[in-house]
Each structure stands twice: as structure tokens, then as C-alpha cells.
Amino acid sequence: MANLYIDNVHKSFGETHILKGIDMDIADGEFIILVGPSGCGKSTLMNCIAGLEQVTTGRVIIDDEDVTQSMPKDRDIAMVFQSYALYPNMNVWKNIAFGLEIRKLPKEEIEETVGRVADLLQIRDLLKRKPSQLSGGQRQRVAMGRALARDPKIFLFDEPLSNLDAKLRVEMRTEIKKLHQRLGTTIVYVTHDQIEAMTLANRIAVMKEGHIQQFGTPQEVYDNPANQFVAGFMGSPSMNFIRCQVVDHQGDATIAMSVDGKDFHLPIPQQEKGVRERVGQEVVLGIRPEQITDVVPQQEQASTLANVDAEIIVTEPTGADTLTLIRMNDQEVNCRVHPARAGAPGDTMTFMINMDKAVFFDLASGDRI
């Protein structure tokens, strides 16, 4: 149980700069997710928190103590690895007890702790088995058990679910969330899976090329992305980016759009003030697939709506929705349509564009306007 403060951390391997000034202030009991594409430095940041890598400059502060120079064992953290990293020559009981034995805890206390953790994770039947005799999901549980047994100040999870199959991953995701709710320990969790990030986190840190692009709650990151990278990374299917021009239409700044040869104007939502000042310039409109749907009559009065007829290029039924590809300003755009109302490829159907949550990015820098 502790807070974690990362103060301007840099990490370089020779001339390669992996982390370029990371600042994070994490409160006690928060569930933080570091997410980003491979090579963005998220695992390196994790290793720096754990003490497995020394930071080049900056400070790591756990529970108000500066542990920048401390060894991993003195930081009172526990880590769960992607490969589980179970000790192959020890059975499950010994795997869980190892850290406690090293810390020279009394035998009865070790017995009791291992038993308690085994019950919590429902692995009591497995205690006598070797890791090679366990399935992926069971190994995952044992790896978590080993971390739990230590009762550390902070849990670190390094892509713990990546090696599991899809169904098990969803189950374990829920279990990790339950575990966090029960224990309330601070967790830092690395993943490249943005769905894991959305479902688990109290706050998400989206990383790219050694910088934190945005650090906020899942809903903030989803609705209010700081730049085009974050917008494209979070959400599946990802946000549509459409190059378009801001024009003055009847005294109001609007977005000029052309679909299948017909020109029309899209309203700019009230909160997007910056883009109104860019009349005559090209910008990138970011709009999520669920904001372009089939026509829903009861919403039709809202001022941020526009209806457009477009030819369907491809449809991808997902069961709950049908993803429909159309062209806007000669760029491909994904729309999310009710399956019963989706047309066939080649058909023309009417789409309703909801600009309420549309966002705009600078064409050159990709920054939010």
C-alpha cells in the first residue's frame, strides 16, 4: 500500500534514448496502465520502477521514500511477468514460498501465507505440481500467487495476459480487477492491448517513443485524446481520420465534406473552439465509427447531426454491429451500423453523422486543436 512518484526519469542505453523524461504521480491504491506500441519504453519504465534497470537520471519514489538507488529486493515490490517466470525446478508451493524463505520468515508464517494465497487464487490442488505440469492459466495464477504472498507495497504486471488464449484472457482480466478491488494495493500494469487498458485502469498512461502522450482516466483518453496517436491507439475499431477543410458557411465555421460527388457541411461542436479559428485551413477530423450510424429518428433533432447518403464498399458483420466502409472526401471511413439496417456492398444507404464527440487535429503535428 503506497503511492508512487516518478520524477523526470530518463533512461538511455548508450546512444539509444528509451525514456525521455517521464513524470507520473500515482496515488495509493490506484490501478495504472502503461499502454503503447512495442518499443515505446513501457517495459523499460516498469523495469526502472522495479529496480531491474538503473535510471540514467531522475528519481523513483515509493511510499515517500527515494528508492532510485535501491536494489529490487529493498523496494518492497512484486512483479508478474509475461512468461510467468516460475522457477522450473520447484513445485508450486516452493515457488510461492521462495521469496518468503529468502526473507527468513518463520516456517509457520510461510505455511499460513502460502495456504491463504492458494485459497484466494483457488490453486490449493496444484501446490505439489511442477510448473511444467500446469496449463497457461494455472501458471498465471501461480505467478500472481507468488506476487501476492509477499504482500508488497506495489504490484507490477508486465503484460501478464499476453500468452493466454482469448477466452482465458477475459476471465483473468476480470479476476485481476476483482483482486485489486479486494486488496486495494497500488498496481502498475503494462500492456499493449488497449481493451485491457480501458477495462482495468483507474488511469491510463499512453506512451510512444519514450514520452507519455496522455495520462488520464480511460474515458478521458477515449473521448478527449491529446493527439492523433492516442486517438488512433485507443478504441477498436480505431477512430476514423478524415482530411478536410474548415470553411465559412452562412457565417458559421463548418467542415466541408464531399461524399460520392455531393458536397455538404458538417457542424463543428460547441466545445471545439480552436478549430473555428482555422477557417480556410486543412485539418484532420477524428470521428469514431460508433458516431456514424444508421439513422436513429429520435435523435434527429440535435444540432450536431448530419445525414448523408453514401455507397457501401465493404461490410464486416461482428454480430452486435455491422462495420460498414464508406468513402468521405475520398478517404475510407468505418461506420458502425445496426445489423438489421446494414445494406449490401454496392448499395447506397443513409448514414447519420453525430459530430457531438468529433475531435480535430493539426494536419502537420497531429496535435489536438
Partner: protein, 313 residues
């Protein structure tokens, strides 16, 4: 689905039935044709001669083979021969020391090389290089090094240590240990390579996990890494043990079995009785004993290897 139609009545008419041509059938047989000469040679010259040796060991053969059978007499003479018992004792000393020291040095070198050091590739080659020499060369080089009048002893005395003695090569009590030294020098690099491969196979995150659990570097090795190298130990021991039993050229080049027959090994004994002393029957008997020694080591190994394959792990 459960009831299939009778085979005599095709349920569906087809335009044409394709049959393999003669050429296709021949092509299928080519792998067998290519392998068969090798197979034949192996059967005759390895297994055939093995059986022949066993037959000779029960015969009165002396300089040339004779097929007059005398039962176990050759084996009785063999085990009544003091020189054979010396060779067996030497094999015991040499085999155990060779295997244990090679394992210890090989493991130590591998662990040291695995510390992410600079020029690792170069050092690895240096340690592996003795493997590239034949045992005859190794034996000859060490004969010069260990020779009191030209080698290490003389070097020590020329440095000023007048009473320095290192004359194991010419001492009948110690000469077998010189064979151990040369053999360890030759083979420990190979054992190092085996262990290094094993160490590289250890998942990095296991070491990280142990560090976070609070284990010191030494504890990580003694409690986790070395125990998990058990299969490597097993393979290394098997390989070293059968090298030890078959050792011939190294001892012959280094000590020639001497002084006297104090550093004789079974293989030297076998060679001399069979081919220089005209006692082929006894020589064959000693060869059979060595074969049984090698099989006693290899059969459990092959058995475990093949069984592991079947378990698909």
C-alpha cells in the same frame, strides 16, 4: 455420417481416375535406395564386427583368429591378469576425476562467460579451441610440458625455485593423473559450451523474478539456475563417461601406458593384447567388457531420450 455407402458402388460418377505413373513411384523409393548402401556398411562393419569380437572372445585365437571355443576361459584369464586390474583401477580414477573436474570447470567457465562480458565470442572460442585438436596432439604437447627435463619443472627451476618438482609423468604412482590433466584441458571447453547453451535457455525473467524475491546472485544460481540445468548435467556426464571408457590415443601419446604399465587404460590393454602380444582371445574379451561398460551408460540415456521424445517434451 455413420453409415458409409458400400465401396463397390461409387456414389458419385467421376470424369477420370488419376493413378501414379511409374516415374512417381520410383521417385517415392529414391530415399530408401540412397540410404541402403550406408545402412549395409553400418550393419556389416559396426554390428557385424561387434558380433565377431564377441565370438573371438570365446575362442582360442592368438595372433590370428581360430574358431576353437573354450567358453569363459579368456575372461577368467583377463580378470586374473594383474595388468588388466591396474587398467580398470586407472579407468576408475581417471573416469571419475575427468568427469567431475570437467563438469566443475565447464560449469564455472559457462557461468562466468554468461555475465554479459565483453569479447565473449572471442573467449568462448579460446576455451573451445582444444576440442579442435586431436587427442594425439594434446597428448604430445602435454608430454613435453610435463616432461621434467624440458617442461614445467625446468621452467620453475629456471625461475629460481631450485627444489621445484613436478615429475608426475615419470612417477608410476602419479602418471594416471597427468592423463586426467590433459583430458580435462581438452574437454572442459566442450562441457562449457553445453552449459552455456543451457544457461542461455534460462528465461531472463526468472532471474529478474528471483532478484525481486530478494535472492542474491549466488542464491539465484545455487537454488534456481543450476538445479534447472539437470538435463544438461545428464547429457554432459553421459558424453564424458563414454569418452573416458574409450580413451586410448591420449594416454598412448602422453604416457604410452607407462612408466611400466602404471597408467594403462583398458583400451591400451586391449590394443596391446590383440595386436602386439598375439593374445587376440583375451584382447577380444577386454573389448567386450569395454563395450558393456559403454552400453551400461548409453542404454539408460537412449532410453530416457527416446521416452522424452514420445512424451513430446
Amino acid at each position: 455420417m455413420t453409415q458409409s455407402p458400400p465401396l463397390s458402388e461409387p456414389t458419385r460418377a467421376v470424369r477420370k481416375v488419376h493413378k501414379p505413373s511409374l516415374g512417381d513411384r520410383l521417385a517415392e523409393q529414391i530415399p530408401r535406395l540412397v540410404v541402403s548402401p550406408t545402412m549395409l556398411i553400418a550393419v556389416v562393419f559396426i554390428y557385424g564386427f561387434m558380433i565377431w569380437t564377441v565370438v573371438l572372445s570365446f575362442s582360442t585365437s592368438r595372433i590370428l583368429p581360430r574358431y576353437e571355443f573354450i567358453g569363459w576361459q579368456n575372461y577368467q584369464r583377463l580378470f586374473g591378469n594383474e595388468r588388466w586390474m591396474v587398467a580398470l583401477t586407472n579407468l576408475g580414477i581417471y573416469g571419475v576425476l575427468f568427469v567431475v573436474i570437467c563438469l566443475a570447470i565447464g560449469l564455472l567457465l559457462a557461468i562466468l562467460l554468461d555475465q554479459k562480458i565483453r569479447a565473449e565470442g572471442f573467449l568462448r572460442t579460446v576455451y573451445l579451441y582444444p576440442m579442435a585438436l586431436s587427442f594425439i596432439v594434446t597428448g604430445t604437447v602435454w608430454k613435453w610440458l610435463l616432461n621434467p627435463s624440458v617442461g614445467i619443472q625446468r621452467f620453475g627451476r629456471e625461475l629460481g625455485f631450485e627444489n621445484f618438482r613436478f615429475d608426475w609423468l615419470v612417477s608410476s604412482d602419479m602418471s594416471i593423473y597427468t592423463v586426467v590433466i590433459a583430458a580435462v584441458w581438452q574437454s572442459s571447453g566442450f562441457v562449457m559450451a553445453l552449459f552455456l547453451a543451457g544457461l542461455r535457455g534460462v528465461d531472463d525473467s526468472i532471474i529478474k523474478a528471483a532478484q525481486i524475491d530478494g535472492a542474491s546472485r549466488i542464491t539465484v544460481y545455487t537454488r534456481i539456475i543450476i538445479p534447472s540445468l539437470r538435463p544438461v548435467f545428464f547429457s554432459a556426464i553421459i558424453m564424458l563417461a563414454h569418452i573416458a571408457i574409450k580413451s586410448f590415443d591420449l594416454a598412448l601419446a602422453l604416457t604410452g601406458g607407462g612408466p611400466g604399465y602404471s597408467s594403462d587404460l583398458p583400451a591400451i590393454f586391449m590394443y596391446q593384447f590383440s595386436f602386439t602380444r598375439g593374445q587376440m582371445g583375451v584382447g577380444a574379451a577386454s573389448a567386450v567388457i569395454m563395450l558393456m561398460g559403454v552400453m551400461a551408460i548409453l542404454i539408460p540415456y537412449l532410453y530416457s531420450e527416446l521416452r522424452v521424445k514420445k512424451d513430446d517434451r
